[in-house]
Symmetry: C2
Subunit: 140 residues, 2 copies
């Protein structure tokens, strides 16, 4: 798997690109000259984890013949500010699901995803404690 | 640190957003219904690592009074396809730098960044072996 990163200004605004041409923008802490032109690297790490686990949840719920109308995730990462650098010690994923869904199947899908199949979660395991919960909203 | 992820279609195309409103698009493997509308989660992990280390390199070279005209990074992640899920076992960062740069200072900056200060590298340490090298192009 291959990606490139190219700086776009004189400071720390970068463009990331995959081999299919999909791009994202990154920028840094204002202390480093960041100008808010993109997502911070540690925020990107949380998005990577949320994306990986959500995609697994969608796939598992589909296999379980559940109708998922919407899915949103809120992620909070708690950094250890006593450490240099301040890595994440705890990451919490809260899934908001909409649809005609069986609670037991939702619990099983999220657990299988976060605790087993999500590659990004496996990469962070042992460094950050990853927890999750969810809310189901009825179909409108 | 807080981010949100919202699904945008009926499959696995998501938008990630930070609290400043910066957004990125993620999409999944075609086997999961991915349609190539965004970066894959594991690609995002590589971009997060490349961004974090590049920003540190820029900051360190500035402190060392080096003139950096351009910086680009090529990242290759090698996944362990015998494992489920196939996590990265090796990640290589190749930095391409342009400017009037002292080789010794460049080596020191990259080493301090990747091997010490970059938060994302610290999070992946022990799971993936992270290596790096660089090329300096003379200013045009």
């Amino acid at each position: 798997m291959h990606i490139t990163l190219q700086r776009l200004n004189d400071a720390v605004h970068f463009e990331g690109k995959n081999d299919d041409g999909n791009t994202i923008h990154l920028d840094g802490n204002p202390n480093f000259g960041g100008e808010g032109k993109g997502v911070r690297p540690m925020q990107l790490l949380l998005m990577s984890l949320a994306g990986c686990s959500s995609m697994d949840v969608v796939s598992l719920l589909t296999k379980m013949r559940q109708t998922l109308d919407d899915i949103r995730v809120e992620v909070n990462g708690e950094r250890d500010t006593n450490e240099v650098p301040p890595v994440f010690k705890k990451i919490h994923l809260k899934f908001f699901l909409k649809g005609n869904l069986d609670e037991e199947k939702v619990t099983k899908a999220i657990s299988k995803s976060v605790d087993k199949y999500c590659s990004v979660a496996r990469m962070l395991e042992g460094k950050a404690e990853i927890s999750w919960d969810y809310e189901i909203e009825s179909p409108s």
